[in-house]
Structure formats: C-alpha cells, structure tokens
C-alpha cells in the first residue's frame, strides 16, 4: 500500500511524459490521478494511523550500507503526506489553467509529479538514509521546476541558487545522517529514536547537530541561508504555491520534527535552533514589508513563518512542538492560497508589481475576497487559523525557562507579530485598494472558475480551522504530534477563546502595532521608492563568480596545456619520491661498494659514450648533426652489451638503431632542420639543474644496485633452459618460452605501432620542409651492389632465425635483418618501384604473424589441456637429412618474425610515401650558383 502510494507520482510522471500527444486536459487529469489516488489510499489508512498504529514496510536495498527501502506512516508522516497530496491536487487543478497553451505541459506536470514523489518519499521514509535520498531528490526536482521558464535569466539563476544552497545542505545532511548511523548502528527510524541517549551522549553529537541543522536550515530558508527563496519566485506560480508554501520549504521543518525525538532536548539544540528561528522570523518579516513583487512579499513572509516554526521546534517543549506542527498546516493553507491568488493576479494583469497594481477588488471580486481572507489568516487575525497557532506561539514564548531567552523570544515574537500585520496590510492595501491598476497591458477579469476553486477551497479550510479547530484539525494534529512526541501528549486546547491573557494582548498589540507601523512607514518614507535590494543574490553572485574565477585562474595556472610543465612535474616527482629517499642507501653503497677493475679499452668506450652524449645535448638544435651523434651513442651502447656478455642485445640494439635512424631521417624531411631557441636562459638552467639531479640519482641507484650481491631466479632459468625449454640461448628461451607472454605483448605493441603509423599517414598530405628540385636521384651503382647483397641478407636472416633458439639471433633480429635490406631498396630504388615489384600488404603480415604466435600458444591448450604457450619438442627423422630438432617455441618465433618484418616495413614504407599537399605549390628552392637542375 505504502509502496503504491509512493510509486504513484513517479508512475504518473512517466505516463505523462510518454503520452506527450494527448490534450492538455488529459495530461492534467493524468497528473491529477497521482495525488487523488494517493489521497484515497491515505484515507484508507487514516483510521489506523489516527488509532495510533504505524503502518510500515521494508525492502532491502543496499544492505551493506544500511540503506533499506523502509516506509513508515506515522502521524507526522500522515499529516505531511496529506498536505503534500491535497495541496498537490489543488495545484494540478490550478496549473491546468495557469499554464499557457504554448508551454510544454507534460514536462511541467512530470516535474511536478517527480517533486511530489520525492516529497512523499521523504515524509514516508522509515530509514534516515532513504530520507536523505528523497531529500536530495526534492532539491533536484525543484531545480527543474524553478528553472521551468528557462528562457528567463531570473528563473535559471534562481534555480541554480536554490539547487546550490539546498544541495549543499543535502550533502551536509547526508554527513549528519551517516554520523547518526555510526552512533546508532542503523538508519532505521525506530532504532534512531530508541538511541536518543546514545546520540546525545556521543562525541560526534555536535557534528551531527551541525550537519543535520545545516541541511534543515538551508532547505527551510533559515537565516542566513534564506536568500535563495525569494529568487525561486521566478518559477511559475503553481510551483511557488506548492514548493514554497506546503512542501519543499516544509521539508526542512519536517525533518526538524522528524528528528526531534532523537536530537532535541539539549541546550545546544535549544540555543541554536531557537536563535536561528528568531533571527529568520524577524529578517523575513522585515524584508517582506519592502517587497514590491507580490510573490517576493509572500516569499519573505514564508521565510518569516518558517523561522517561527523553527523557533517553536527549538523551544522543544511539547506544547511548542504541537504549536509548530499546527502552524505548519496553517501556513501551508493560507500561503498556498495566497500564492495562487498572486498567480491569478499576475495571470490577469500581467504584472506582480504592487507599484503598478491596486484597486483590484472591483475587477477581481472573488479573488480579492479570497486573498484578503487568506492574508488575514497570515496576519493572525482571529477566526482564522493563523491566529490560533500564533496565539500558541506567544504562549510558548512566554514560558521559556531561561530568562534571557524568554525575553529575546518574546520580544521577537511580538515584533514579528507587528511586522506580519504590516506586510499583510501592504499586500492587501497595495493590491486591492487604492488607485490602479497602472500600465497594465491586459483587460483584467476573473479567471476560470477552476483556477479560483483551489484558492477557495484553501480559504474555506483556513476559516474552518480558525473557527472550529477542535472539530476539524484536532485529530490530525494529535496524530502528528504523537509522531513527534510519542504516545504521551501534553494537555493542550485548540479553543478559539482562552480568556484575556497575555498572548491575546500580544496579538492585539501586534495588530495595532502593525497597522501603525505600516501607515507610519508610509508616512515616513515612500515604501514604493525603496529599491529592492537583493543583497543575498548579490552575495551569491559575487561568491559564485569568485569561486568560478578562482577555479578558472587556478586551473589555467596549473594546466596551461604545456607538455613541458607536465614533464617537469614528472621529473620533480621522481626526485621527490624516488631519489630523495634513496640517499641513505646510496651513501651506504658508496661506502661499501667496490666495483670490478676495468681495462683501458673500457674507459675508451666510456669516454666515447660520455662525449657523444654531451655533444648530442650541445648540438641538439642542429637536428641532422644530433641524429648522427646519437648514432654513435647507440653504437657505443651496443658495444657495451657485447663486452658485458649480451650478444643478443647488441644485435638487437644495432638493428633497431638502423631502423630508428631511417625513421628519424624520414621524419626530419617533414620537420624543421633546426630547433628554434624558445626557452629562456633561466629555464634552461633550471632544466639543466633538475636534469643533473635526476641523472645523478638514477646513476647512483644503478651503481648501488650493481655493487650489491644478487639473489635472483636466474640460476633456475639457466638450469631449466636446455632440458625444458629445448634451447641453449637462454635469452631466446626466455623470450619465446619462459616469458613468451611478454613477447606476445611486445609484438602486439610492435604491430599496433605499424597500424598507428599507417592510420596517421595513409591519407595524410604533409609538405616537406624542403623539396629538392629535379627528378629523384637514381643511384645505379649503390643500387646494384645492394641488390647483390639482398639474397645474402635473406640467407643471413634465415640463418639468424633458425639458429636463434641456440645461438644469438631469433625472430625479432631475423625480422629486422630482413626488413633493413628491403628498406635499403626503398631508399635506393624508390618506393614506387619496390612496391610495384613486391606488392606487400604489410598490415596483413602483422595480422598473420599475431595469429601464428597465438595459435602456437593455443595448440597445447586445445590438444593437451596444458596452459597457453606451453612448449613442446620433437626430433622427427627425415630421410637423407637426419634428425631435425623442432621446438614448438619456434612456431611462436615465426609469428614474431612476421610481425616484426610486417610492422617495420609498414612503418617505414608509410613514412617514405607521404604525399605532398595537393593544392599548394611546392616551395621552390633557390639554387646555389654554379649548379643546375638535372
């Protein structure tokens, strides 16, 4: 039942959205189904609730978090749910006529229903976390509703303001709720109520209170967070009527009531809530007087009334709680009707500015009458519901135990009474009496009956409650109070007449004072002339702009899109995280370390490397030269590998070096020949300094590692290489067997590199930095000699491949030994010629190579159930030839061979065949004297 109650608005919202093509009336009806059916359900449940039962359901949701889908309909929830649904139904009815024909009604109603659902969920939630969920959902859906007229800047800004403030509060509330959960061990309301002592004794209680109250105060627009509410008035009036009288702002005070049993009763609670309530009460009321916008006045008045309610809950006495609950209901009824009336006025006159309105009582007689009655209720005039709760408020104010607070609260209450009468008077006087309306574009007449009906219904409620509270509202109030205070309710009387007592005198004094104040103020200075100062919005704007400015400036300062800066930070991080902590270890190793002696030839090599490295840096701006010098570094590194027992490495390094030079030269054709000096001297020094630090650190670490005794798994690799890996070149066995998976990844990388280059250059047209005049050089003699070399190179490639498992070599090396001579053919004969003679689809070679490698690895899986890449070995006897040793790893190596050859050739051939741009003219190069084009 409760599930259905809650689901209805959401379901109907979806329905409304999906049935976009139906008439507006149908849409409204569909939308109306939710609150009406909901009310029906609620009515069905009412006897039980009034009888003291608490219908509950609970479904597990995110159990590890303690978040359960628990719904719980106690008196408080029942009261709020009724209010949400009843006023919701009236608002739907009102909105159907309010909305312009051009407006997107389905969207409006869907948002409204979404909000209604969120609100319902919040009041029904039996789990605090769930409550927080729906709480934020109300913020989100109200954002959509306030910004519904999105073409209007005010609306957009108001919506964002509301979302920011209430969203912030929601996040704080979430924190508070989690803290409560940590104290209680559960988020279920019953458990939370039961743990009242624990919560209030917990060290986190102040934090809980701060966070929860932050949520409450923002949502119910308490000072100093109140300023969002007037700006939310940019919303369509039905929205204001709903959100800002009965629902959204009431969510805050609802929560105050909801958590009252758990949080209230401490001094901290009393002082904080009471003072904030009192401040809000006065600030709202004072500001309301000076609003020119009808809805602005109502909004500030709402703030003031919410302050009043908050204050009551702050007082925390049972009677204050009852008064608070009572005022919630009363305020909802008169304020909703006032908003709707304001909407009608706006709708009919085209303005809500009281400076242009006036004398409407003749033009809109019914509306005027209704609005005046509702205003009187707001002012707390006897026979209307507002009077009753105000009276109770005064009574409670006078009974505050603490002396100072009693005086403060009483004075505040009295002042608020005066101010309330004053702004009510202004509302009535400036709108319905006096001169006017001025500069109104439309002809003013009464709106359709169904637009007035909701106002009427609400005003009737105001009257009924005001005149006969015991017959109308008492049971509901009692049930709600029981939801907050538990079964033992205090003695209270809802009678109209309690005899002449201090509260009554205060009321009367307030009324008189208000009248005097209003007319006095008008005499003193022209209320109309007072500029509306949106101080809150101004502050918000300044803050938003400041935050945005800080964010922009900061982000731009940090990430200005400079690669250099990114890399600089990497180096800094390396020094900080990697090199600095190494210092003690380095010092120790320098003390202890004694390396092996080195022959002079070794020092020669060292000098070669150091000199070439230094020269690379010194000459790096002359790119071709730097490239040649780097070649010497590469050669030096290969020689180091040779001397230090790594023939495979030396081979690979040499071959890769050659291909890299080719690559760089190909690229250099499309890059400037020289680097411009673009760094300041200071920056060069800074970079040099950090480079030196990094170099020293890494060199030091290498030294420390080298001079330390080793303890590795290598011995086992050596021992098992021949018997189990069937190869005596252990490095190759590691590559194709022990760590064949690495190699698989490696050739994948290699192949992908080919694909990337292909993808980037295939259609690219790039202008060379310099184009030599004349036909391409034919170099017949070198071509001829290199051609002689080609079959030999093929043979060497095959040799290196076949021997690789036992001697230096292997698929990778062999693949490059095949690719480099072919590259040479490209260089000497031109790419068109080579490709016309050997039309290779290198992409395909990569694919085939990968598949071969994979299949070699997969075969033992499928055939023997052994893991991927498990190697096998066989020595089949062939006639004439004898035993041929075959390791399955060689199949894997074939894959390597193919991918490497295909990848290298794809890269190089693509780079060699870049086309110049189509339309642009080739750059003509002036020839040096004495030379001619051939």
């Amino acid at each position: 039942m409760l599930e259905l109650l809650l689901a209805l608005p959401f379901l109907m919202a979806a329905w409304v959205l999906l049935a976009r093509n139906v008439s507006r009336r149908t849409t409204a009806w569909l939308a109306g189904v939710a609150p009406l059916a909901g009310l029906a359900i609620l009515i069905a449940l009412t006897p039980a609730v009034l009888g003291g039962e608490v219908p509950q359901v609970s479904h597990p949701w995110i159990e590890p978090l303690g978040l359960a889908f628990s719904l719980r309909l106690d008196g408080l929830a029942w009261m709020f749910a009724s209010m949400v649904l009843a006023i919701g139904a009236l608002v739907v009815m009102y909105a159907r006529y309010y909305l312009d024909a051009r407006e997107d009604a389905p969207k409006f109603f869907a948002y409204l229903l979404l909000f209604m659902g969120a609100m319902l969920g919040m009041v029904l939630a039996g789990n605090l976390l769930l409550l927080a969920v729906f709480w934020e959902l109300t913020s989100i859906s109200s954002f959509l509703l306030i910004g519904y007229w999105s073409h209007d800047r005010e609306a957009r800004e108001g919506a964002r303001m509301a979302l920011t403030i209430t969203g912030a509060g929601g996040l704080a509330l979430l924190g508070g709720v989690i803290l409560i959960g940590q104290v209680v061990g559960s988020y279920e309301l019953d458990a939370v109520f039961a743990a009242r002592e624990a919560i209030q004794a917990a060290p986190t209680y102040p934090a809980i209170l701060a966070l929860v109250l932050a949520g409450i105060f923002t949502k119910s627009a308490q000072f100093p967070f109140h300023f969002w509410l007037p700006h939310a008035m940019a919303a369509p009036t039905p929205v204001s009527a709903y959100l800002h009288s009965a629902t959204m702002v009431k969510a805050g005070v609802f929560l105050l009531a909801r958590l009252h049993p758990a949080l209230a009763g401490t001094e901290m609670f009393f002082y904080v809530v009471t003072s904030v309530g009192a401040a809000t009460l006065l600030v709202g009321a004072w500001n309301a007087i000076f609003q020119h916008d009808l809805k602005g006045l109502l909004a500030y008045s709402t703030i003031s009334h919410l302050g009043l309610i908050t204050l009551l809950f702050g007082l925390s006495t049972p009677l204050a709680v009852v008064a608070g609950l009572f005022h919630i209901l009363n305020h909802a009824t008169f304020k909703a009707s006032l908003f709707m009336a304001a909407g009608i006025i706006d709708h009919e006159t085209g303005t809500r500015d009281m400076r242009r309105l006036g004398n409407l009582r003749g033009l809109l007689p019914t509306t005027s009458a209704l609005a005046i009655i509702a205003t009187l209720a707001m002012a707390g005039i006897p026979l209307l519901n507002g009077f009753l709760s105000k009276e109770m408020f005064f009574a409670q104010a006078l009974e505050v135990p603490s002396d100072t607070m009693r005086i403060v609260v009483t004075v505040a209450a009295f002042l608020a009474g005066i101010l309330g009468v004053a702004y009510s008077l202004r509302f009535v006087h400036d709108t319905f009496f006096g001169d006017g309306p001025r500069a109104v574009e439309r002809e003013v007449h009464e709106p359709p009956l169904f637009m007035r009906a909701p106002v009427g219904i609400l005003v009737v409620v105001c009257l009924a409650v005001g005149i006969a509270p015991a017959w109308t509202i008492a049971p509901a109030l009692e049930a709600a109070a029981r939801g907050v205070l538990g079964p033992d309710l205090p003695e209270y009387s809802l009678a109209l007449w309690h005899g002449i007592n201090l509260p009554l005198l205060m009321s009367l004094g307030g009324i008189v004072g208000g009248v005097v104040l209003y007319f006095g103020l008008r005499r003193l200075f022209n209320v109309h002339a007072i500029a509306r100062r949106a101080f809150g919005r101004h502050l918000f704007r300044i803050n938003t702009r400041a935050v945005l400015g800080v964010a922009r400036r900061f982000t731009f300062r940090v990430t200005n899109g400079s690669l250099q800066r990114s890399l600089w930070w990497v180096v800094v991080a390396v020094v900080a995280l990697g090199l600095v902590p190494a210092v003690p270890g380095l010092l120790a190793s320098v003390e202890a370390g004694a390396g092996q002696p080195m022959p002079p030839i070794g020092w020669a090599l060292c000098v070669l490397l150091l000199a070439a490295t230094a020269t690379t840096v010194a000459l790096h701006r002359q790119r071709l030269v730097a490239l040649i010098v780097v070649g010497a570094v590469g050669l030096g590194v290969s020689v180091v590998f040779v001397f230090l027992s790594a023939p495979d490495l030396a081979l690979t390094q040499l071959l890769v070096e050659m291909v890299t030079v080719a690559l760089m030269l190909l690229a250099l054709n499309y890059l400037p020949q020289e680097s411009l000096k673009s760094n300041t001297r200071a920056r060069r020094w800074r970079d040099a300094a950090i480079a030196l630090v990094a170099g020293t650190g890494i060199g030091g670490l290498a030294y420390a590692v080298m001079t330390r005794p080793a303890d590795t798994v290598a011995g086992e690799l050596l021992a098992r290489s021949l018997p189990e890996g069937y190869g005596s070149n252990v490095v190759n066995v590691i590559l194709v067997d022990f760590r064949g998976f690495d190699t698989l990844g490696e050739i994948t990388v290699f192949g992908i590199a080919g694909l990337v280059v292909h993808a980037l250059l295939r259609r690219a047209r790039i202008a060379a930095t310099e184009v030599m005049p004349g036909e391409p050089d034919r170099l017949p003699m070198p071509a001829n000699l290199s051609h002689l070399l080609f079959p030999f190179a093929l043979a060497v490639s095959a040799y290196l491949f076949l021997r690789g498992h036992n001697q230096p070599g292997g698929g990778f090396i062999a693949g490059l030994v095949l690719a480099i001579p072919l590259l040479l053919q490209y260089v000497l004969l031109g790419s068109r010629y080579v490709e016309s003679r050997m039309g290779f689809d290198y992409t395909r070679w990569i694919g085939i190579g990968l598949i071969v490698a994979l299949l070699t690895g997969v075969a033992p899986m499928l055939l023997f159930g052994l893991p991927f890449l498990t190697s096998g070995h066989a020595e089949p006897r062939l006639p004439l030839i004898g035993e041929v040793p075959l390791a399955s790893a060689m199949g894997f190596d074939i894959g390597v061979y193919l991918v490497v050859f295909g990848g290298a050739m794809l890269i190089l051939s693509m780079m060699g065949t870049v086309k110049p741009p189509k339309a642009r003219k080739k750059r003509v190069v002036t020839l040096p004297s004495g030379a001619e084009a051939s």
Binding site: V572, D737, L869
Partner: protein
C-alpha cells in the same frame, strides 16, 4: 569445448581480443560489415568468458594460471582474484557500450578501428590479470599504443597536438616504469609480484632504502597514468579531444593506474612485516585530497563539455586514491564500488556530451556561450541522469559510492575526507547545473534558415543509454556489487592468501621450483 576451456579462464580475456583483433586486421580489406561482425563476435565471446571468470572469482578462489606451465617465479602467471575479475568485467561491459557507439559510424572513419579496439581490450584485461610486474608493463604498453591509435586515427589539428602530449607523456612514464623495474629486479631478483612481496618482507635496512626509492619511482608511474596531482596535467586535453567512443573507453584507463597502485602497494609493499609496509598510503591520501579539489575546480572552470568530463574523470580517480590510501576493507570496498560506478558514468557522460555536441551545430563543445540547440528531450534526461550520478547525488550510484566511502572513513581522517568530498560534490553539482543551464536552458531555438543536425543514431542512443543504465543497475541492484567489492577489498588487503595461492599452484607437467 567449453568444458575444455574452463581451466583456461584467466587467459581467455586476453587471448580472445588478441585473436579477434588479429583476425580483424587480416580481413581489413573486406569491408566494414565483416569488421563489425568480427568485432561483435569477439565481444560476445569475451562477455561469456568474463562472465564465467567472474563467477569463478566470486567463490573467493584466487586462481593462478601458469603460462607455459612454468612455476610462477620463473615464468609469467596470470592471477584471477575478485579484484582483477571485477575490473575485467567492468572493462568488458564498458567496451560493449563503446563498441555500440562507435558502430554508429566512427569505426568507418578511423582506420583499423576494430583491430585496435580489440587489441586495446587485450591490453586492459592483461594489465588487470597479470601477476608479474614486467608483464604489467608490457600490457600497459599494449593498452597505451592501442589507445594512441584509437585516439589519433581519423583525427587532425588540435587533436594531433593533444595526441603528441599524450604520447610523449606516457612514453616518459613508461621509461620510468622500466627504470623502476630494472632497479627492483636488481634488488629483489624476481618479477613475480607475490615473490617480490615475500622478498620485500625480509629486506636488510640498506636495501630497504633502495627498494623504497624504486617503489617511489613506480608510484610516480602509476600516479601519472592515474592522473594524480601533479601528474594529471596531460589528461584533460587528451581526453577532451578524443573521439567520444574512445574517450569513453579511456574512462577505464586511469583506473588501470589506480588498480596498479592498489595491487602493487598491497601485495608487494603492503602491510607485511617489512619496513616499507604501506609507506605510500599517506602520500596518496593527501595528494588524493588535493587532486580531488583541483580537479573539481577544473570541472568548474572547464570551457568545453568534454573538458568538464575529463576533469570529472580525474576527480573520480582522486576519490579512489583517497579510498584506497585509507586501506581499510571498508574504504577499499567503497572505493571499488565507486570505481565501477565512476567508470560507467564518466564514460556515459563522454558519450552524452558528444550527442549534445552533435545537436548544437557550430556551438559544438563550447560552454562559454549558449549556441542553438536542436531540442531533444531524451538527451536532457540522459544528461540529467549522468550529472546526478557523477555528482554523487541520490539516488544514483554515485551517491551510494560516496555514502559508502564517507561511512567507511576511519576516525582520524573523517574531517578531511568529509570536508573535501562533500565540498567537491557541491562544486561538481554547481558545475553541472551551470553546464545544463547553459546548454539546455539558455539554448537559442534552432535558426530557421540553417538545416538542423540529424538526430543521434540508434546505436549512439544505445551506447550512451547502456552506460547510464549500468549506473542505474548499480543503484537498483547495488547490494551484490557492494558485497562483491567489499569481499574483493578484503581479499586484496590480505596478501598472505594471495602468496599462499601462488605457492600452492604447481605446474602440471613440470617440476615445481624448489
């Protein structure tokens, strides 16, 4: 066949995409239809394999797969525990949506798309599954180089420059990775993470300083990939300029860095008895907080839609660092849930932003001014869902993740974490509200004399919708995911079980190591 393959489950998420990637390359000249068929067949096969793997891991078993039947310390072992299986599953689910989106036409424009896509998946899955540190490097490279291709194929202009940054930065990081690996091998004598962890626990003090240095370098590498302060500067531009489907897939790439930190700094430099135990966590915690703050400011300052999402990606990675750095089962569990959520949602937002871009005509990506927009209600809804989710607002998955994290923060850190997380949530909310307002509310009606853009294709809707639907799924059926994440966290914080599983796993036909 299936029965025969079941012992090989840990290797299948790598092999299948490799195989289908290679096949796609082989038949590249046969047209896009065949390419798509190959891509989707591969995807389907991967889904099945990953599903089975997930089920296996969910039993709590830590499965070691000895490649080449070599003992783990000699060869390379793949390890499927809850953490890696979960991440592989996340990757796969993400990939389905990305592929769907790309099949709306990007795959036609970008050369080798299907091949590269599959190979990228192989790289990602490999990185998550390997138990060997050098092999992790190799798969990082596979993943990265494929990402270069995906990022740059079919691109030009500013994307090239962003690509250059991305490539150079990552190569620098990879070089550093190698340096760290070299040092670690020299000091510890092994590359298998379990073995390394065992050796770290018994280091002499002199060696400890050196190992600490090497692990510091490694941390820099992972943080650079994961885009942690001050190493995230490369990310926003690269991601913001990537084609949508690719940017969406990239949402998991930063998570690889985060994952690596979690894995390596729990297993190798974790809470063992050694003196390096957990040295990295305080660093990560504070930089994580700062990164979260700065990334959120970046989101607030973003001048384009995709830049905004790029910053949100950084923010989500930072949140993960905070969660992991606290290194309690509860925080890590919360982090893992958040990881899954943020991957899907940021990816989804990339796609949504791309859809929006397509409907804005010349205004495109720009957030600085409100261009015209071809009205599209579902688009707004998708944006809304994504925004609510990524800001951590109820009721979607981001909220659950954040609530789990806030709930789990230990006492001493509560103020810092709560303050930062809540504040950044709010700022994110502000940024997104501003964005939505700018794009949808301030939009001018489509000018009559300009031909309106065509509405998004069905595959595009499906891709973006699927990702956001994952998020909703994580919300509605979040409990099992949270439970899985918490169990995974428990498992990953107890390296002893991992090491024991490593010891117990022996080769089938070979002698185990002494």
């Amino acid at each position: 066949m299936l029965q025969a393959l079941s012992p090989h489950l840990p290797v299948l998420p790598i092999l299948l995409p490799l195989l289908f990637g290679a096949v796609a390359l082989m038949f590249e000249r046969r047209g896009i239809g065949l390419q798509r068929a190959i891509g989707w067949t591969g995807m389907l096969a991967l889904l099945l394999a990953v599903g089975a793997l997930l089920a296996q891991a969910d039993t709590g078993a830590i499965t070691f797969y000895l490649l080449g039947d070599w003992p783990a310390r000699l060869g390379i072992a793949l390890v499927a525990d809850r953490l890696s299986a979960g991440l592989v599953a996340t990757t796969t689910l993400l990939a389905v949506a990305c592929l769907l989106y790309a099949c709306a036409g990007w795959d036609r424009r970008a050369r080798h798309f299907h091949g590269l896509f599959q190979l990228q998946l192989a790289g990602l899955n490999g990185a998550f599954l390997t138990g060997d540190l050098f092999n992790l490097f190799v798969f990082f490279e596979v993943m990265l180089i494929a990402s270069y291709g995906l990022l740059l194929s079919g691109g030009r202009g500013a994307r090239m420059r962003a690509g250059l940054h991305y490539v150079v930065f990552n190569i620098t990081a990879s070089t550093l990775f190698l340096v760290a690996l070299g040092l670690l091998y020299g000091l510890l004598g092994s590359l298998n993470m379990a073995e390394m962890g065992a050796r770290v626990a018994v280091l002499s003090p002199d060696d400890a300083a050196l190992v600490r240095a090497a692990s510091g370098l490694l941390l820099v590498v992972f943080c650079a990939k994961a885009a942690l302060l001050p190493l995230y500067l490369w990310l926003p531009n690269a991601y913001a300029r990537a084609p949508a489907a690719v940017a969406a897939l990239f949402a998991i790439m930063t998570k690889v860095g985060v994952y690596s930190v979690l894995r390596v700094y729990t297993l190798v430099f974790g809470d063992g008895p050694g003196e390096l135990a957990g040295w990295a966590w305080p660093w990560l915690f504070w930089t994580g907080l700062l990164t979260l703050l700065l990334a959120t400011l970046g989101a607030l300052a973003a001048s384009t839609l995709r830049m905004l999402v790029a910053y949100l990606v950084i923010a989500s990675a930072a949140t993960l660092f905070i969660a992991f750095a606290l290194s309690t089962p509860a925080t890590v569990g919360a982090g893992l849930y958040y990881l899954v959520h943020s991957t899907f949602v940021t990816a989804g937002l990339f796609l949504v932003m791309d859809l929006i871009r397509g409907q804005r005509g010349r205004a495109g990506d720009a957030l600085d001014y409100a261009g015209p927009l071809r009205r599209n209600a579902p688009l707004g809804a998708l944006f809304g869902i994504g925004a609510v989710s990524v800001a951590g607002l109820p009721p979607l998955s981001g909220f659950i993740g954040k609530a789990l994290l806030l709930d789990a923060v230990p006492d001493g850190y509560r103020m810092w974490v709560w303050g930062t997380v809540l504040l950044t949530s709010l700022l994110t909310l502000v940024a997104l509200a501003r964005t939505g307002s700018q794009v949808f509310w301030r939009a001018e009606p489509w000018p009559a004399d300009v031909r309106p853009p065509s509405p998004p294709l069905r595959a595009q809707w499906a891709g973006a919708g699927l990702l956001l639907a994952y998020g909703i799924g994580l919300t509605l059926w979040g409990a099992p995911v949270v439970r899985y994440a918490q169990a995974a966290a428990q498992q990953v914080l107890e390296p002893a079980a991992y090491m024991q599983a490593a010891r117990e796993r022996t080769p089938q036909i070979r002698e185990p190591s002494p």
